[in-house]
């Protein structure tokens, strides 16, 4: 199957968040300067050449001769819920912001369980119910954060609202992919991709809140 450009870009961004990010965080404990330089370099290159992080990691996996031993989309989805780095955590201690952290982590964790549960119909349906609940809680938390933004700061409010709308858009896509999957169970890859998009969108919300409010 040939990967579309949009999927490759998604994988690249996920790789930055859930593979490179945590690794660089560990490196920071040993050599802060090296870690920060590498982080900046990856970000810069990936912005200039979208998808670079994907090619980079694929190259490493090929060198290690394990690139065909697992499904990257599934693996990124599983990592998406288990890996969290400082870059994606909101530092403000007020309950509203910490609640957002919690809700985002919870949603990502539930989404990351999809690959292991998708083939067990009963369990998967329970997971979908949990996802519905987690999406609602996340967006309620975002609404509360938006309410905390000073009234004068309309620009930030609008940016957060736009980010939220984007998230809702990808939530609908995810729901549509589920419908397709239940009609044709060979569509599991589409479910994984749309779940990955949802994790990525969750991380984008966190990044945007950090940028606008912290």
């Amino acid at each position: 199957m040939t990967m579309g450009d949009s999927n490759k870009n998604l994988y690249a961004k996920m790789i930055v968040d859930v593979v490179l990010g945590p690794v660089l965080e560990k490196l920071e404990k040993k050599d802060v300067s090296a870690a920060q330089t590498l982080r900046a370099a990856f970000t810069k290159v990936d912005n200039t050449l979208p998808g670079f992080a994907y090619d980079y990691v694929k190259g490493i996996l090929k060198k290690a001769e394990i690139h065909d031993k697992f499904d990257l989309c599934e693996t990124l989805l599983q990592l998406g819920g288990s890996q969290d780095c400082e870059e994606l955590r909101i530092s403000r201690q007020e309950p509203t912001f910490q609640e957002l952290n919690k809700c985002a982590t919870a949603l990502k964790k539930i989404l990351s369980r999809i690959p292991e549960q998708i083939y067990d119909r009963k369990q998967f349906l329970e997971t979908i119910k949990e996802i519905a609940s987690a999406i609602k809680r996340l967006l309620d938390a975002v609404n509360r954060v938006i309410a905390e933004v000073p009234a004068a700061d309309n620009g930030s409010k609008q940016i957060l609202e736009d980010r939220k709308k984007e998230f809702v858009r990808y939530s609908k896509k995810f729901s549509n992919m589920l419908k397709e999957f239940f009609r044709d169970t060979n569509q599991n890859q589409s479910v994984f991709i749309s779940a990955n998009y949802l994790i990525y969108q969750t991380n984008l919300i966190l990044r945007t809140v950090k940028q606008e409010c912290c």
């Binding site: 349906l125 609404n143 709308k165 809702v168 419908k179 169970t185």
Partner: protein, 398 residues
């Protein structure tokens, strides 16, 4: 059956199904015994089985467990004594059970003519049970609503056929449940999307905003499906999901209706009045009056709250009144000369009355609507206490 294998096609007398479709299903069966690709997932899919129609036993109590063999036989014996079903079924007429993801249909088929005996929507079926009573293969289908259930009694020629019907009905239950879960996700996304453009809010005199949205509730409350392993397919219990053919869950419609009505009230009522409204509505719906006149007293209070200028809004309350008080409420409205939409005593927008729970809704969990009302009540009470004693404040301020 015990080892979870499919039945041999040769034993399926009277079954009409495409061979290729059956084989696809067989290969795709996963380890938990459920077919990943249902035979009934397309709208046009259906299966037919030859059965004998014994009869329908009415007035079955809702709590009766028909997966209990003794209970089933007891009910059938009662049915025979009360002549609801014959002592023996002749089997002269060719009876066909047709099963699709939407309903089971029982009909007589003579040459090219079909006569419908009964059609039962899948979401009205509480449970299906197979009992082997000394070589008589009985299939019992319990269906109905919270007030009344009935038992459809069929006989099958072979145990294989009876077990196959149970297994296929379980597949249909699974499809209905799957559709409802996906719909739940869509409805949740729809709700949160709408909340971004402004949920119904009210301002108290301190200028703070309170949302009238209910507390966190995924909206999929009591209806649960217990899907049995086909290895025990002789007992298939289901709780139906309130899912209309239009595809949207009844509970989400109800929640939307309530929000829409509250939006109307918000524009016409003060904060105090809204708080009182919430309290009175809860009183009506939790009411277990020793004296029926007490319920009338609550109705009068509601009427006084609305007053002459707003009494036309009372008709809109109809969908949110509990079934058991509905008739009394309608009578009260009639006495006050309040006309209803379309001149009928039905809900707004032709939507079924609230709280008409299906036979499946047999737990004590709060429904989505109950939680919305609870949330409103709590939030309005909070506003009330936040506003405090306004006259005292005014005295202090001056």
């Amino acid at each position: 059956m015990e080892n979870g294998e499919w039945f041999n096609m040769d034993s399926m007398d009277g079954m009409r199904r495409q061979q290729s479709n059956y084989e696809v299903v067989n290969e795709s069966r996963n380890s938990s015994g459920y077919s990943l690709q249902s035979e009934f997932h397309r709208e046009s899919d259906h299966s037919e089985y030859q059965v004998q129609f014994a009869g329908i036993i009415e007035d079955i109590q809702v709590h009766v467990d028909i997966t209990n063999r003794t209970e089933v036989l007891r009910m059938i014996d009662r049915g025979k004594m009360e002549q609801m079903i014959p002592l023996k079924v002749s089997g002269e007429r060719n009876t066909i059970l047709s099963l699709s993801r939407y309903n089971i249909k029982l009909m007589y088929r003579d040459h090219s003519a079909e006569t419908l005996i009964i059609r039962v929507p899948i979401h009205e079926i509480a449970a299906v049970c197979y009992v082997n009573d000394d070589g008589v293969h009985i299939l019992a289908v319990k269906y109905g609503n919270p007030e009344r259930c009935s038992l459809l009694v069929l006989y099958c020629d072979t145990p294989g056929r009876a077990e196959r019907i149970c297994s296929d009905v379980a597949q249909c239950f699974q499809l209905v449940y799957t559709d409802a879960v996906v719909q739940l996700l869509e409805d949740t996304i729809g709700r949160v999307e709408n909340s971004s453009t402004g949920s119904p809010t009210i301002n108290n005199e301190n200028g703070r905003k309170y949302s009238l949205e209910g507390q966190d509730n995924p909206g999929f409350s009591a209806s649960q499906l217990s899907l049995t392993d086909p290895r025990n397919a002789s007992k298939t219990r289901s709780r139906s999901v309130a899912n209309s053919d239009s595809g949207q869950s009844a509970q989400s419609y109800q929640a939307e209706l309530l929000r829409s009505y509250l939006e109307q009230l918000r524009n016409k009522f003060s904060v105090d009045e809204l708080a009182k409204f919430s309290t009175l509505l809860k009183q009506i719906n939790e009411f277990s009056p020793k004296n029926p006149m007490d319920l009338q007293a609550v109705f009068k209070e509601v009427f006084q709250l609305y007053g002459n200028e707003r009494k036309h809004l009372l008709a809109g309350l109809c969908p949110f009144i509990y079934e058991k008080h509905y008739d009394k409420f309608l009578e009260f409205l009639k006495k006050q000369g309040i006309s209803l939409d379309n001149g009928t005593l039905s809900s707004r927008h032709s939507f079924p009355r609230m709280y008409t729970r299906s036979v499946s809704d047999m737990t004590t969990d709060q429904s989505d609507i109950d939680s919305v009302l609870e949330g409103i009540s709590t939030q309005l009470a909070q506003i009330d206490s936040n506003i405090g004693d306004v006259p005292a404040y005014l005295n202090y301020a001056s």
